[in-house]
Assembly symmetry: C2
Homo-oligomer: 398 residues x 2
């Protein structure tokens, strides 16, 4: 059977390895350390850095394809490998748009996909500042500042309260640092995510559109499918994601994060061309998980059935607490299992640091369960695993 | 998180490793070779033999518990390790009954559990032959001869047609070889399996009772739950298995293979104190898989929910063909995925040899599917993977 190499040894690679086992394979991972989540569990680990071309080359040797568990690999290295004949999925030409928010926004706008209004703040700093002020005034300073590259889970994103704060952050950040864009802060009802997959052959598959709940700038909870979403809007989101994947030549799974505005419109927020937190629910809640699907797409296998297994599945992230509880993770797991025999726990083998994603819990609802009930249970379980204290669930977080 | 060691590097260890990953662990395996199914995918492999005490000791070092993917480990080694303080689950005192068919039959009969009539053919050969003839005559030579130890998947079992064949096999086998027992050949409707789990704490959990279809002496297909089984009989089978596990001090999962006789009674056929082929359907068809459950039990975690996810799930084994097809396994998988996007395939990374179990397919039915429909699809998928030829499904095998 073929070998796929995943660049990065994090939890996404760890869970992709689980899926690879069923397909008769072992996922090869390029990991920085033997203690990385995926390196702890795979028999095929190449130690090295995703910033070093030689390490990437070693990891690719003998593999049928190279793929990623993060967006941080330098494009010039990927282009060099592609020139050497390495199959990279998604290809560098697509990955470019997941790495560069300005290129992504520009391309999306060209394709006619709805995006929040934005301003390019790259180039000469003085001229950019002028454009920034104009953009801010136009939006009554309801704006967000973002780095074009490298931001995730709330890093590289500044929610600005007023003109003074906006200019202070700009002046601190714009000179010499990573390029910036400004975006309109959209009055929104909630955030959604449309997870799809696309194979090199061009086959596409879409899971039900989910609602994502963010806390401290990162995904905390996912409700699958998004409650009270009309079929029309759900299909619109899926079609946008599939159309974009086609236009950009994406191969593998892709998450399109969306804003549902207060007037019910959809705007594209972010793209991820890899398994994504908003797809973790598929491990227990869908016929085909995002991890198996990513491998299928990368291998140019036909895609799997994306149907949900239940009317509602809720995923809640287990985050490192401000102060790690005295009770061991092992003991916390024991207690959770005693209280919730149906909770599906996925732990990543990571040390506990504040707000770090160290695992997640999926609760698959049955026919009678309301989304709120299932959500309460998922959040209660995740909060317990993080803090070793029982709460009344998500109301406690509101 | 704790480390569990599994003795044996076969497919059961491979799939247990998948389950271990979700629990934040890496399964350590004692494997004979790096190419063993589990050794291909786990980061923690100890190479050695389950017949060597020193190898077992090395594999146990630092692990919280030792468990098994087969019944072949010498009991004296396990007793020695237990004396040294190693936690062995199931303990040697229980495993004894899974290794020794005579001890098992005798103990079951003592406990009042229904077993086929049997005769002990150990000891002096001439005297055993006399007992054998008497037993044969009593049952009109509708009998089976079995080795007390080491038989599985049809090996070590002789289905005898008449007195002449019976005595010929006895005379060939009884002297010097492994001890034998004779068993009544039961007029039966079908075979069933009751899979349960028991934790050291004494918690028990039972999956729905399944129907197993044997071909060439080994399990070929499993229907979960067993169609048209009354609740009473299903509960009786579960209670028998739970009661036996309690009486023998089993820890982990246990399969109790049963005959359903033509008059609707149950008789215990075999026991396996490990994940078992008749439980593979749980990977996709139950809330908690047998592999996760085995780890939970071995770790003395509370057991997981054994509820089925669907009204019917069918598992079909992928067996090595008489002559391996020219089409590669990779390509066969590709074609299967194209035809059946909902098929859940589990491949073991094993070479193809005639009748060897090299993988399995689970089809999870939806509300409208009859067991026969789901079975036909599962068998068609498995037959394709084995032979690279499409059939009309299980009718073709009848």
């Amino acid at each position: 059977m073929p070998t796929v190499t995943m660049i990065g040894g994090g939890q996404l690679a760890r869970m992709t390895h689980q899926a690879a086992i069923a397909l008769g394979q072992c996922l090869r991972v390029l990991a920085a350390s033997e203690s990385d989540p995926a390196a702890q569990v795979s028999a095929d680990v190449v130690l090295g850095s995703h910033d070093e071309l030689d390490d990437l080359r070693r990891a690719a040797a003998g593999a049928v394809a190279l793929t990623f568990d993060h967006e941080g690999v330098p494009l010039e290295h990927l282009r060099a490998l592609e020139a050497e004949g390495v199959t990279i999925r998604p290809p560098s030409s697509a990955l470019h748009f997941a790495q560069d928010k300005l290129a992504m926004r520009t391309r999306l706008a060209e394709l006619g996909l709805p995006v929040p209004d934005f301003a390019d703040l790259t180039g000469d700093v003085a001229q950019a500042r002028t454009r920034f002020v104009e953009f801010g005034e136009n939006h009554d300073w309801h704006i967000v500042l973002k780095t074009i590259r490298g931001g995730y889970d709330g890093r590289g994103v500044w929610l600005l309260r007023d003109r003074d704060e906006a200019l202070a952050v700009f002046d601190e950040t714009a000179g010499g640092g990573p390029g910036l864009i400004a975006e309109q802060m959209v009055p929104m009802r909630r955030e959604l995510s449309a997870m799809i997959a696309r194979s090199p052959f061009g086959q596409g598959g879409a899971w039900p559109v989910v609602e994502t709940v963010q806390r401290n700038g990162q995904c905390a909870v996912v409700l699958a499918p998004a409650p009270d979403l009309t079929d029309d809007v759900a299909e619109q989101a899926q079609q946008m994601a599939l159309r974009l994947a086609e236009a950009l030549g994406v191969v593998g799974v892709m998450a399109m994060e969306l804003f549902e505005t207060t007037d019910g419109a959809l705007l594209v927020n972010e793209l991820a061309m890899r398994p994504h937190n908003s797809g973790h629910w598929t491990m227990d809640g869908a016929v085909t998980s995002q991890f198996e699907q990513h491998l299928r797409a990368v291998l140019d296998y036909p895609l799997g059935d994306t149907a949900p297994r239940a009317p509602i599945t809720v995923m809640a992230n287990i985050l490192g607490a401000e102060v790690a509880p005295e009770m061991s993770m092992d003991e916390r797991l024991h207690h959770l299992m005693a209280r919730m025999p149906d909770a599906k726990v996925h732990l990543y083998g990571k040390g506990e640091r504040p707000d770090r994603k160290i695992g997640h819990v999926n609760i698959v609802g049955s026919g009678d369960d309301s989304p709120a009930t299932v959500r309460e249970r998922a959040e209660r379980a995740a909060h317990w695993m993080s803090h070793a204290e029982w709460t009344d669930g998500w109301d406690a977080h509101a």
